[in-house]
């Protein structure tokens, strides 16, 4: 406070008067767009690529990261399979069952297994026991689960998520990354015999055609996961070469007709 009475007031008045003529700070919004920072994440949106396809790969990372767990999503992943992420309540129930119980004694509703084919998830506990619930060994865990069930039941994955505490997105990402892990029961098993006589009869070309038509390789599940292509361990006695079996029954397939047969099989299995 200055000693001259009124000096401070005069200074203030002078300041405001100067500001009266200075350029203004207002941004006339509709006319002049505000310059928004590049990193500004005020707006959430799904991106589309130049072909107009949705870029979302249904990796569930966003649903996992959402603090209030308000994201409830579904969509096609890279392998063309439809998946749904159940919303907040199931989140709490599945990921936090133990902790929620421990923390608040709140009666946690049954995990939403009714969404899936019911499988006995007790085995999963055993498997996790073996890997001592360590999410870092997720691949091994998933492989042994697939060895047990023949595929990866989503119920089992949810169970893994909830017991080991690993985010579902992590498990799901691992499961979708490795192409030898699959989410569906194999529908049909097509086996090709590669014994000498069959090779002579051109079964290798047949195997190649089958693999091409079914979109897979020998020893792998097909992309749609519905047909498995395998190699017969040994020639069925009394069968004609080249020998191709469908679910164990020999099929009358020739090197020329195999393509049509495989297409028909794929079509049939798709229905």
């Amino acid at each position: 406070m200055s000693f001259v009475p009124g000096l401070g007031i005069a200074k203030g008045m002078a300041l405001t008067l100067r500001r009266f003529f200075e350029p203004k700070a207002t941004i006339q919004y509709p006319e002049t767009a505000p310059d928004i920072a590049v990193r500004f994440r005020g707006r959430l949106q799904l991106l589309y690529d130049e072909l107009g396809n949705l870029k979302c790969e249904t990796c569930f990372q966003c649903a996992q990261a959402c603090p209030v767990e308000c994201i409830d999503m579904g969509g096609f992943d890279t392998m063309g399979r439809f998946h749904v992420h159940w919303g907040a309540p199931e989140q709490y129930a599945e990921r936090r069952e133990k902790s929620a119980l421990r923390r608040s004694g709140r009666p946690v509703p049954d995990p939403a297994y009714s969404h899936f084919d019911p499988v006995d998830t007790a085995v999963v506990e055993g498997i996790l026991e073996k890997y001592d619930f360590d999410p870092r060994q997720m691949l091994a865990i998933l492989e042994s689960i697939q060895r047990t069930y023949g595929y990866l039941p989503v119920a089992a994955l949810k169970r893994v998520s909830q017991v080991s505490g690993a985010p579902y997105a992590l498990i799901y990402g691992t499961a979708t990354y490795y192409s030898h892990l699959r989410f569906e029961k194999p529908g049909h098993i097509v086996a090709v015999c590669l014994c000498t006589s069959c090779l002579v009869a051109g079964s290798s070309r047949i195997a190649g055609t089958l693999a091409r038509e079914l979109g897979t390789e020998v020893g792998r599940g097909s992309a749609a996961g519905r047909v498995d292509l395998k190699q017969l361990p040994s020639h069925v006695p009394g069968a004609t070469s080249p020998l191709v079996t469908l679910d164990g029954k020999p099929q009358p397939v020739t090197a020329t007709g195999v393509a049509a047969w495989a297409r028909a099989l794929a079509g049939r299995s798709l229905t």
Partner: protein
């Protein structure tokens, strides 16, 4: 259920005058109608006092009256409700009523995991969000024995001090606004907006930055931020001086604030007040110096203190702190190290069971977080200590004896943020 105290006290001032002849009803609307003209406009709670204090507060001596300041009052910060007992315009006693903004953040945090806690605490003191994050992150890092890269620490200090300046400029504006000055608040907002835009370029958000991470920060310095910062730093000091010059020497302002709401050293210590309000009372307690927690030991700044402890001192302390913060930002820019901004951490955070207390110096004082881990993926107990809470607690001590006109001046000079007080 512990027994409630004073539940048996006589409800002398609370007898509703029942209109004669009408049957008594428990329909609140009818009760309301009957109260009209009686004590409907008295903020007396319709139940017997729970404590001696409440009882004596809500009993009027003759010549006194109650005045409800807030929760919807032009000058209350947030939804604060002060029940003021007046005789004339003299304040006899005050009873702050809190809880209008209570969200139960602690419970929410106990039910979410460590990643989610960080932006659950953001809206607490929405004017300076980074500091809650900082406190939480400090305590979590202690829980998990994480060491933060130096660059990350420097970025934390940089952004934190920027936000401190933003908060203080807003504080000056609000203080002036509560004293009836229209202009400083807008200058404050203009300056804050520059800083906030800057931080938006760095963190991606204007208000609730979810920027600090356990073991670092989310995202490195970028060119846009640096250019905006340089542009601002070139005129920051001048701007601050100009905005402060509007008030510092203004006779009216000085007369309104000098000697008003004196919080002396002993009382401040007994209240556990921290931050600028304590330093204005002459105690040089600044967590950045008293208990260094980041790279602050390497930085050169001093802790301004004053001895008066009145509203003017509290205001001037803020002005000095803005200058200090500008110094700190300058140093951060000059010796900003290279390197990563995040420590390498496992994807899944499950600290061993333990307890940790992290505290940092926010614009309003010490912002502390006490978290207990039980080995799961989320905190078992998450306790937030908010400085505004204690600052607000001093109000019933500071106000009595002053005039009603000083209510908002004193409250504003304590710089409360209801979002933090009500948790």
């Amino acid at each position: 259920m512990p027994p409630r105290r004073g539940a048996d006290r006589p409800t002398s001032t609370r007898e509703k005058p029942q209109a004669g002849g009408q049957p008594s009803t428990d329909d609140p609307r009818i009760i309301l109608d009957r109260q009209i003209g009686a004590d409907l406009f008295e903020p007396i709670p319709p139940y017997p006092p729970r404590t001696e204090r409440e009882g004596e507060f809500y009993t009027l001596a003759d010549g006194e009256m109650f005045l409800n300041v807030g929760p919807h009052h032009p000058a209350t910060h947030g939804v604060l409700r002060l029940v003021v007992k007046l005789s004339g315009e003299q304040i006899v006693d005050v009873d702050p009523v809190l809880g209008y903004l209570h969200r139960g953040v602690e419970k929410i945090c106990e039910n979410s995991d460590y990643y989610h806690v960080i932006d659950q605490v953001d809206p607490l003191e929405y004017i300076s969000s980074l500091f809650q994050e900082w406190a939480a992150v400090l305590s979590f890092e202690k829980l998990m024995d994480v060491t933060v890269p130096r660059r990350a620490e420097y970025i934390r200090v940089l952004s934190g001090e920027l936000l401190r300046i933003a908060s203080h400029t807003l504080y000056m504006g609000f203080l002036a606004l509560d004293l009836g000055g229209l202009t400083p608040i807008l200058y404050g907002f203009i300056e804050r907006d520059e800083i906030v835009e800057m931080l938006a370029a760095l963190t991606g958000a204007r208000m609730l930055f979810n920027y600090f991470r356990i073991g670092g920060v989310n995202g490195d310095l970028n060119h846009e931020f640096m250019s905006r910062l340089g542009d601002w730093m070139s005129r920051a000091a001048r701007q601050t001086e100009a905005s402060a010059g509007l008030l510092n020497e203004n006779e009216i302002f000085v007369r309104r604030t000098r000697g008003v709401g004196i919080l002396d050293r002993a009382t401040a210590l007994r209240f556990g007040v921290t931050g600028g309000n304590l330093r204005a009372a002459g105690v040089p307690f600044d967590v950045r110096r008293a208990h260094p927690y980041s790279v602050y030991p390497e930085l050169d700044f001093n802790v301004p203190t004053r001895t008066e402890g009145d509203s003017l001192a509290r205001y001037l302390i803020r002005v000095d702190e803005v200058r200090e913060s500008i110094k700190i930002i300058d140093q951060c820019l000059h010796n900003m190290p290279d390197g990563p901004v995040m420590a390498r951490l496992p994807r899944l955070l499950r600290p061993h069971p333990g307890r940790a207390w992290g505290a940092c110096e926010g614009p309003r004082g010490m912002m502390g977080v006490y978290s207990i881990s039980d080995g799961s993926d989320g905190p078992f107990r998450f306790r937030i200590h908010d400085p505004s809470f204690i600052n607000m607690e001093t109000v019933p001590t500071l106000l009595p004896g002053n005039l009603l006109a000083d209510t908002m001046a004193i409250v504003a000079s304590l710089d409360p943020v209801m979002g933090g007080i009500d948790k």
